[in-house]
Amino acid sequence: MDSGNTAWLLTASALVLLMTPGLAFFYGGLVRSRNVISTIMLSFMSMAVVSVVWILWGYSVAFGDGNAWVGDLSFLGLRGIEPGDDMLFAVFQMMFAIITPALITGAIVERFKFTTYLVFLVIWITVVYAPIAHWVWAPNGWLFEMGALDFAGGTVVHINAAVAAVAAAILVGKRRNPGLEPGNLPYVVIGAALLWFGWFGFNAGSGLAADGVAVNAFLVTNAAAATAALTWGVLSQIQNKKMSAAGVATGAVGGLVAITPAAGAVGVMGALAIGLGAGVFCYAAVLIRPKIAVDDSLDVFAVHGVGGIWGALATGIFTVSAFAGVPGLIEGDVEQLGIQAVGIVATLAYSFIATFIILKVLDLIPGLGLRVSDRDEDVGLDVAAHGERAYVSDGAD
């Protein structure tokens, strides 16, 4: 083990872990105030549940030898993973597994049944996340072998979570009383800030070393986040004569999503282009979403799906041989773009279908079910599911 690389990967792992509470506040700030605790808990519990699943079998299903489609059970309980680079990799990857299902929850806030969600977490990590991670990142995964580029998880994390979010939103149905405005905008901003901060670990850690690749990934990550935030802000100002803070924060996240698969493959100019695209496409998607019948409440698909797909394609466009070893469209080669498209389609299809089936089954199991009662939804899930109120400041505080 090189101590410098180890130092960076430990740091990066901590940074990625922090993204999940960041997401909890980002989402928590967007819902109405009677659901802020329940929304935060959807993310926070992923830290608790997925960590355990990952250690017990998740890592093995994802990175065990297995075949082109799925790992095997050789690393159950992290058996045989010595405290060295392998264990560090398992730890770093654990943080990715934690945040991915947390991303989904943006689509189901304010009405999904909490206990069912916990069961869903266990199954989804096992049946959806781990296999797709295997496809893309395991040396014998079929997408890896095909040459799909996904430096830090554009398909595995973002497209995957986004399309699962759509499946979940369809099955759980619309909210009865969606709030008009975000309930706590400072939470949205601090959440976005923690995501931005943590994303440096996410992307610049994904090269597994403290080297030039990491430095470039760090730079392009910041560049894309900034550009997308700025783009969104400008579009918002032009269209509405006001600049939404929630919009700028969302733009930043969209840019971070889009640069994720590309962070090891593009230069800083490519990053600006990717950020610009992310700002425009995610903005448009968020505008269109309310016109669609599916209540993807916090626009998971509009940001992580659209941003993720754009990023995966953009990786095929802007990748430069000097970085990723393969030429992209701007170097005149269309092949990589095609490979990227295969990765996108496969992830979209598998994740949507598998998630749909899992939730359909959970809906039918007595005692589970996807949706809270109308009464609980009206009262708000903070009290109904968690027995708590976010802020208590009346005379009885």
Binding site: E181, P182, S236, A246, V248, L287
Partner: protein, 119 residues
């Protein structure tokens, strides 16, 4: 002499003007609180959700202020509030309303005094 309660719904940004006006007209005490109001003012434009689009929010933040005074101060207080709460010279929709209601008894907790002297 009877006592009355004068309650005004005003714009939050005018509350300081109103409380100063109440003081200067000789109000012994009052209290105020933020509420959400709906009236002819058809709301404000706010961003919804992640800030992609704006929507009109019917309800708008208002502040209510209430003071209990003796009967013969009614007109002075009303005039003071109107002057302090009105936007510009002509006023604007949403400037608020004043409601006067009868009060049958006032008690000062500290001393137990009743009626006018307690106001």
């Amino acid at each position: 002499m009877t006592m009355i309660s004068i309650e005004a719904v005003v714009r939050p940004e005018r509350i300081h003007h109103v409380t100063e006006a109440l003081e200067s007209v000789g109000c012994q005490g009052f209290y105020y609180s933020n509420v959400t109001g709906e009236g002819r003012q058809r709301g404000v434009e706010v961003f919804v959700g992640r800030g992609g689009a704006m929507a009109s929010r019917h309800s708008v933040p208002k502040t209510i202020v209430r003071t209990v005074v003796v009967d013969d101060m009614q007109e002075a207080v009303i005039t003071a509030i109107i002057e302090a709460a009105r936007t510009g010279d002509k006023g604007e929709i949403g400037d608020g309303k004043i409601f006067v209601t009868p009060v049958t008894e006032v008690v000062r907790v500290r001393t137990g005094e009743r009626g006018e002297t307690a106001v």
